[in-house]
Amino acid sequence: MTLWTHELRLLIRARLTVVALALLAILAVASVAAGMAEVARQRAAIAAIPAAQAEDISAVADYVSRTKDAGSAAYYSFHPTWDSPSPLAFAALGMRDVSPYILRVRALGLEAQIYDGDTFNPELALPGRFDFAFVLVFLAPLFVIALFHDLVSGEREAGRLRSLTALPRGGAGLMRRRTLLRWALLWAALALPFAIGAAWSGVGASIILLILPLIAAYLLFWIGFAALIGRLRWSSVANAATLAACWLVLVLIGPTLANVAINRAVPISQGAEIALAQREQVNHAWDIPREETMRRFYANHPRWADSAPLGPEFHYKWYFAFHQNGDERVADEVRAYREGLKRREAAARSLSWVLPSVGVQTLLTRLADTDLTAQLAYQDRIRGFHERLREFYYGYLFSDRSFTREDFARAPTFKGSRVYRHHSAFLEAR
């Protein structure tokens, strides 16, 4: 038997170690399974869109085809957008439980639609999801503490340290072997379930190869921490208590304090103000001459300026024009709001250098495209799609073309698929 197999035998004879490793592996498997189930639920919900949408649109088409009025078509048609979970989303669900991944929009003012949420149970979201990122960031350090708090002090307390060190292979090398072995086993308990789940979910090899060392590095941070505390030559009990206290600070208290500090340093109240202002802008159009609205609209969108002048009766092109004017008038607030959100996220990201727990969580949610950046990116894609929707309907409205049943099929459809280039996405975000 080699020295390594000897150490392995010693390790698996210790009940605490075996129980701890088995428990960690079970938790990792459970979290991967739970994450994959959640992602499957989200995929199923997205897959169910076309059927529901077809039914809804065909009813609108039935109604509109009586008048062939493009305005009614634009007004009554909801168009679905969705944010498909990335292959890695199972490992870090991030914000996907609280921010919508399906949103239907109309060609009306977007600022009154884009902040809408989906139905979710806030009490379930409150404690956070049980995903792989949680097991890694929150729980794995506790297992490191359980396995490493008495690495040396345990031998000292058992009275073996002196005689072990007196053996040629029993000194620092022995502790190195034990550290490496425990590290490798902890890593395997986390990495194997993750890698299998990731391969199953179709995560690219490069991402898996990035996260596997990340797991090892995060464990190493805590192992190094335990070694540092171990150098103080305190008792095993004191080591365990100190390490658990450090865990509390680094994983729970630090991030919560930072959240308070960041939200204070970067105040964001524009959200509701945008909604209020946009409504005011939109509805104001009813109280001013309609030509004024059209002038403003044509100034910003000259390509429709050749459209026939408004008659005395209601015309939807005026209606849609003031909706778009409303959006455009709050554009600055929207930009400021968005900048605020990005600043908050950037502040949290820079905190990664101080709090490895935050770093790992941030990195995982970034790679999985489940963070605030991903949420904003989804909003950008909705904005792009909404732009195409407007263009499409304006083509009928401003040239008074009739909108037939066939035209419903010509409406732009949301491009749900994304190209996942995680490395570059992450590096850009940095």
């Binding site: 038997m1 020295l3 035998r9 010693l10 073996r160 005689s163 007196a166 040629p168 292979r169 029993g170």
Partner: protein
Amino acid sequence: MNHFGAPPILIDGLTVAYGDHRVLDELSLHVPAGSITALLGGNGAGKSTTLATLLGFVRAQAGTVLVSDVDPGADPDGARRKIAYLPENVALYEHLTAVENADYLLALSDERKERGVITDALAAAGLQQRAWDQRLGGFSKGMRQKVAVAVALLREVPVLLLDEPTSGLDPRATADFNALVSAVRDRGTAVLMVTHDLLSAADVADRIGFLEAGRIVEEVEAVGAERFDVRALHARFAVGTERHAA
């Protein structure tokens, strides 16, 4: 084994001090191959520090320490490769069996032994066969020590260091242990035991050194079949410890 070259344990003018306090004060001690030297001394005489220096745990301020020509201060691992060490309180792994413990400790000493060789050594150390494959959880101190002795026996090294080996053993176990140590000596090993068990030392040692305040104040060699005059030794030891206490 070189009976004619430098002795496996060679200490010359060894001085170890913690701050102003000299624990070892120009200590000199040679233990030739195939002999047993007992260091007798009261608490604080420097016995443990002598062993710790040989094992490379403590660095000498002055003097020469060589373990089979290796300086433990410069190359502790090299020195430890030459030493089998039996601590005062033998602590082993409770959740391993006797054989597994021996196997493991030998592996940490860079030695591989077949199971048969290990069980032979356990038997030679006086451990009954039914205990070989039992976990150490229920072992008595004597039984634990037998496992440790078996490991020491199996390590074919030139130096054996014993730290209070007979404390806590009953007379019968002490006699058994002494017989084992004699057998090791007869293989050509240089044995150094530090103890305050005068009777045991007299029984087994070839030479006895009296350690007081970090130096050997007197050395007695065994002569003939009578070996030592135990009474005289006892009187000498009592004086030494009293002097130290005063």
